[in-house]
């Protein structure tokens, strides 16, 4: 492996002069990088390959059975009531979650941008759930949204008593495959907890973005006679677009692999109204010993993340170079 330090033509001259020393440097550089590289190759790419192999095998009991069955496990899953429900739940949860996190994060960032007193107090308050575990969040919100107590004690005065995560209603549902396709009301409850935890992320991103916009930009727009609202709508928001893209991608990958929050808050739920692939994979693999099915779920999860993560990574890395 040839090590070339970029943008440095003198290096070549020096390299010939001090060949011996630089070649030990090369060896050292290799020794620094190699452990990480090998670990990633094995534990990420090798293991993904192995999971893919398991997903095509017949290993659906305690005893490993690697006989090849093709796409049988995938076909089973796509016809399975529970997995269809998972896909539906993930879809609506992702839309709800990303939408709310962006609206909340952006609104709060703009409000905090108004040179208000106590800005840092508010900021730290909105950030702190990020430091908590999804398990803690799940445990607390499970109680807050318990239909017979929690926030319902307040809502009683308005005469509404939502059933939150125990609600099995599917909004605007119609029969599709095995399932009722539509927004599962119970997922809204999970969404509230997730938004509570993750809004801090988009807020931090938007605050960083707003700080990156020079005051002159706003001044110039103001000179041109733009109202303050127009400045935000026409000048600032378009500049924040790359940030919105990053937030969407990062939140989407969190949403697609979500497990701990739902596992600790609701579990799969009645009729699987709060089930997601992450929970199904865990239960079917480690509680039911359906390893090949679990591997197939895992591969589907991976593909769903990779579809937009890979282009994002490539673009993000190219943009930097």
């Amino acid at each position: 492996m040839e090590l070339v330090k970029q943008n440095n033509p003198q290096k070549v001259v020096r390299a010939t002069k001090r060949k011996k020393k630089l070649s030990t440097d090369h060896m050292m550089a290799l020794a620094f990088l190699l452990p990480s590289f090998i670990l990633i190759v094995i534990f990420v790419y090798g293991f993904i390959g192995w999971t893919g192999y398991v997903s095509l095998s017949n290993w659906n009991s305690l005893v490993p059975d690697f006989s090849f069955v093709g796409l049988k496990n995938y076909l089973y899953l796509f016809g399975d009531f529970r997995f269809q429900a998972d896909l539906r739940n993930t879809l609506f949860f992702t839309i709800l979650f990303i939408g709310l996190v962006i609206i909340f994060g952006l609104t709060l960032a703009i409000l905090l941008d108004q040179k208000i007193k106590g800005e840092s107090v508010f900021r730290n308050l909105f950030f702190f759930p990020m430091a908590l575990s999804f398990v803690v969040t799940g445990v607390v919100w499970q109680w807050l949204l318990n239909p017979s107590t929690g926030v319902n004690l307040f809502l009683k005065t308005f005469g509404i008593q939502p059933k939150w995560y125990t609600d099995t209603t599917i909004l605007a549902g119609f029969k599709w495959g095995q399932i009722e396709f539509g927004l599962p009301v119970a997922m809204i409850a999970v969404g509230i907890a997730a938004v509570w935890q993750m809004t801090g992320f988009s807020l931090a991103m938007y605050i960083a973005g707003l700080r990156g916009i020079p005051d002159e930009t706003r001044e110039a727009a103001r000179m041109d006679g733009a109202t303050e609202l127009q400045i935000y709508w026409k000048v600032i928001l378009p500049q924040l677009r790359p940030i919105t893209v990053s937030v969407i991608i990062i939140m989407a990958h969190i949403s697609l692999k979500i497990f701990d929050l739902i596992y600790s808050m609701t579990g799969p739920g009645a009729n699987f109204v709060t089930d997601v692939p992450g929970v199904y994979m865990f239960e079917t693999t480690f509680r039911g010993n359906y390893y090949a099915n679990g591997a197939a779920i895992a591969i589907i999860m991976l593909l769903s993340v990779a579809i937009f993560m890979v282009p994002y990574l490539i673009r993000s890395r190219k943009g930097e170079a």
Partner: protein, 273 residues
């Protein structure tokens, strides 16, 4: 500055309303954990406790203490090791670039975003083979390995900003690869180490999927033990809330003391740089 003249009070009202939403779970968590069990009824969830009762804390602590220790045994070495590996590979990938190093870096980064379910089955087979299944050592290994991408990213982005001239002049003075790393890169990246360490500490402490699948009972970190509290017979809400607070305390303290670095880590994870 924007809507100042028109609606400053409105802004405060909005911010305070959102603050209440953010604090509500913490309020419930604290007051519930301080109530005696008989005072915990569905209807007086929001009421302050009539007497301060710390017994739920002693009960939660006696149940969680071994697992809290497990978490510390796990988090401290895993954090240090992954920061070291990240600094090493970040140094090479920023200052000793070679043909294909950018592609290699992108390939490493992908490891940060995979759903860990997609490596879990082989991982557990592997840990069983080498005798590390159901051990804290096994969990340390797992967190070090899967922490490499984010730690590398953070250090690489940090090191890119150290001017090449500094390294060149050190090399002219006779410093070799290791000398540059020890005398220039490490001293200049102390705050980078803090960011990475806090990020890894928080993430590994809070992690659940590896913890619940790789360890059982007495080897389990605190988050699994907390989750198990709710699974046991009748849910004692006061004990569970006290447990949640105990389990969250280390990361909360880190956040309160070093929140600035935590947010830096948060932003670094979005891959720009």
């Amino acid at each position: 500055m924007v809507l100042r003249s028109i609606s400053k009070p409105l802004i405060y009202v909005l911010l305070i309303a959102v603050s209440i939403f953010f604090l509500m779970p913490i309020y419930v968590l604290i007051i519930t954990s301080l109530k005696p069990l008989e005072e915990i009824t569905l209807s007086n969830m929001w009421k302050l406790p009539s007497v301060l009762d710390m017994s739920s804390y002693s009960e939660a602590f006696s149940k969680l203490a071994p697992n809290l220790m497990n978490s510390f045994y796990l988090v401290i070495p895993a954090t240090i090791l992954s920061a070291m590996l990240g600094a090493m590979s970040g140094y090479v990938l920023s200052k000793w670039k070679f043909k294909g190093s950018e592609i290699l870096f992108t390939l490493m980064l992908f490891g940060m975003f995979i759903p860990y379910q997609s490596i879990l089955i082989p991982l557990i087979q592997f840990l069983r083979e080498v005798g590390l299944y159901n051990t804290i050592l096994g969990l340390i290994l797992v967190h070090v390995v899967y922490g490499i991408p984010i730690a590398t990213l953070m250090f690489r982005n940090f090191y890119v900003n150290i001017p090449d001239e500094m390294i060149e002049s050190a090399q002219i003075d006779g410093a070799n690869f290791l000398g540059v790393f020890r005398h220039i890169m490490i001293p200049l990246s102390i705050s980078g180490f803090v960011v990475v360490a806090i990020w890894q500490f928080t993430n590994i402490w809070n992690e659940f999927l590896f913890a619940v699948t790789i360890t059982t009972s007495d080897q389990q970190p605190v988050m699994v033990a907390l989750q198990n509290l709710s699974g046991s017979q009748i849910v004692q809400w006061n004990v569970q809330m006290a447990g949640a607070l105990l389990a969250a305390l280390p990361t909360l303290i880190v956040y309160i003391l070093l929140g600035k670095y935590f947010v830096k880590g948060l932003l670094a994870g979005s891959v720009k740089g």
